[in-house]
């Protein structure tokens, strides 16, 4: 396919789509009566059909396949599930996922909060925030490449200079350079740094808006009482923005559970760094084990639910207060 042909295909697809939409609007517009089930159907059916065929059916099918073997031929009961919780390689994957989901939200939220408080009402606030927020615009693949270069390792020999910033700093400090992405178990932490780097901007933006929404009489009263600096944050800011903090923590942990781009780009899951979302891809699309991959996808789904429920409950509480 040359570029011309590709753009042609795109134009065709869009034209096709515009045609269908136009037909729907035209037909509904012709209708005489105002309240008509057919009009409503024409409006919602495209969306409902797509969701039914493309999301609900596949999800049900995935759950079904999780009880079958790698080729979906014979029923194996709960074998895939017990494999996940007994196989030693899988246990490493679960351990890593747990570390990711615990560390990332806490670190990103903490840094985001500290930064939001520090730059609040500073003269260069907008620019200072943009600097932290920018990584959110970059793809996780791009972010991973940026950080792989920071971690880059060269063997410690004469005439070989380090090109990775972190190893060069170690050398300047008189230490040995190290394989940041290879040495377990710390390599997982170095991968998590990338996610924290990306997510801190999200945390900062939401928390900053919450901080600005604290009524000024509260902060002024606290100032009159002599509260400043860290104690001000501890006793006034944090309690006042508690709902926003919960939202940020839970949102980041949901995102972290599903993230796979970083692991895929930086280590490919080697050196004991795999997580559930990455293992899903490896099993399903590289090793062709549909059963195990489906089980991992279901596990991901099941892990997300309690966080969402907690999130919604906290919001309800916040609303009724």
């Amino acid at each position: 396919m040359d570029n011309f042909e590709k753009f042609g295909q795109m134009a065709l697809a869009i034209a096709l789509f515009v045609g269908v939409m136009g037909a729907i609007l035209l037909l509904v517009g012709r209708a005489k009566r105002r309240v008509d089930i057919w009009q409503s159907l024409a409006f919602v059916l495209p969306a409902l059909l797509l969701l039914g065929i493309g999301l609900i059916y596949p999800a049900v099918r995935t759950i079904y396949q999780s009880f079958f073997d790698r080729t979906s031929d014979s029923f194996v009961g709960l074998d895939n599930y017990s494999d996940i919780f007994t196989d030693s390689a899988m246990l490493v994957v679960l351990r890593n996922t747990a570390v990711w989901v615990i560390l990332t939200p806490i670190l990103a939220t903490f840094i985001g909060l500290v930064y939001a408080v520090l730059v609040d009402r500073a003269r260069i606030e907008a620019a200072a925030k943009a600097v932290i927020f920018l990584p959110m615009a970059i793809s996780l693949v791009g972010a991973s490449i940026i950080w792989r270069y920071v971690y880059e390792y060269r063997p410690d020999q004469q005439n070989i200079e380090q090109v990775g910033l972190l190893n060069q700093i170690l050398v300047w400090l008189g230490m040995e350079p190290r394989h940041f992405l290879v040495d377990t178990p710390l390599n997982t932490v170095f991968l998590i740094v990338v996610m924290v780097w990306v997510q801190a901007g999200f945390a900062m933006t939401v928390l900053s808006a919450a901080i600005k929404a604290i009524p000024s009489d509260i902060t002024e009263a606290a100032q009159l009482d002599g509260l400043t600096g860290v104690r001000m944050v501890r006793y006034i800011t944090v309690p006042s923005i508690r709902p926003a903090l919960v939202v940020v923590l839970t949102t980041i942990s949901i995102g972290t559970l599903k993230v796979f781009d970083i692991v895929r780009t930086m280590t490919g899951g080697q050196f004991d760094t795999s997580v559930v979302a990455n293992e899903f891809y490896t099993q399903g699309f590289q090793l062709g084990d549909t059963g195990l991959a489906s089980t991992l996808a279901v596990l991901l789904f099941v892990l997300v639910i309690p966080i969402v429920v907690y999130n919604v409950r906290q919001l309800r509480k916040a609303d009724y207060r």
């Binding site: 295909q9 009402r121 270069y149």
Partner: protein, 304 residues
């Protein structure tokens, strides 16, 4: 998930809070020297990695091989050769750049239009099971993409669509719908009912109300979502490598870069330039549409 989606009221607040409080209180310098220092350290930590790789992408290949980017300051030499090679050389990223554009444009237009129609129906039309269906669509936001991918791929293979752009367009459309419908519905609900009643009295049907009143009124919300969706598709890797495996004809930039990072992990003159070829579009969007961008990202932060 639900929580992170700002309601129209909250969005309003996010938008208005800043000017109000700033004029209300005098701007101050950073509270103390230590606070400024801490903020500066974080800001530097957040920019240095990107800056290092950006500078690297403009250094001559041989310099990149032998020394780190900080050596540039003692031996400043800049070149565009890396970009030339990564775009038009063996890695031919220009092809993938085009692919990314081809994938992204329909993957934004189609779900946004379908979601507009559906959210109008959910907000202002009456039909059986309306509220139940809306809650169901809303709940679908929490389904991780992974749960749908394998059977979905099967469907595409059976329909003989594999190897074309269709699986990517359709998948991105489907995965965008729950969030898009929920978001646009919230905004459409806020439009005063009197407005629609008045139009109805004048004899306007649903289609007229939808195209003449509703869509123009919620354009800011549509823009915020469209920008979010644009970046999501542009930056996506998961859908890309499952639906477009190994095919140079249809793979987007992200998939190619991830592959390069794995197979040619130390050719930094290519990787650095390649990374910035993929980063430049989102950054342009970020700089020029910052406000929509932040709103869109906040609204969509749990997608996927």
């Amino acid at each position: 998930m639900t929580a992170a989606v700002p309601t129209p009221a909250l969005q309003e607040e996010l938008a208005t809070v800043e000017p109000a409080t700033i004029t209300g209180r005098a701007r101050k310098r950073l509270t103390s020297r230590w606070a400024s220092l801490a903020a500066l350290v974080i800001a530097v930590l957040w920019t240095l990695p990107t800056f290092g790789l950006l500078l690297t992408s403009f250094r001559p290949e041989n310099d990149i091989r032998t020394s780190g980017w900080w050596n540039w300051f003692s031996d400043p030499q800049l070149t565009l050769d890396n970009y030339d090679e990564v775009l038009y050389g063996g890695t031919s990223l220009s092809t993938y750049f085009i692919n990314s554009i081809i994938i992204t444009i329909p993957s934004v237009i189609i779900p946004v239009s379908i979601a507009c129609l559906a959210s109008y129906a959910f907000a202002w039309m009456r039909f059986p099971f309306r509220d139940t269906l809306f809650v169901a669509v809303f709940a679908l936001q929490i389904v991780p993409l992974q749960v749908a991918l394998i059977p979905l791929l099967r469907i595409y293979v059976d329909a003989d669509l594999n190897g074309t752009f269709w699986p990517l367009w359709i998948s991105h459309t489907i995965f965008a719908l729950p969030l898009a419908i929920f978001l646009l519905h919230n905004f459409m609900r806020e439009v005063p009912a009197e407005l629609m009643e008045a139009a109805r009295v004048d004899g306007a049907g649903h289609v007229t109300i939808f195209t003449r009143i509703m869509v123009p009124l919620v354009t800011p919300a549509i823009a915020a979502f469209a920008i979010f969706q644009f970046l999501w598709v542009w930056n996506d890797l998961l859908v890309a490598i499952t639906m477009a495996t190994g095919a140079q004809d249809i793979q987007p930039l992200t998939a190619r870069l991830a592959e390069l990072s794995g197979s040619r992990g130390s050719t930094w003159h290519l990787l650095s330039a390649g990374a910035f070829v993929s980063i430049v579009i989102p950054v342009i969007v970020f700089v020029f549409l910052q406000r929509y961008f932040v709103r869109g990202l906040l609204a969509g932060s749990v997608k996927g």
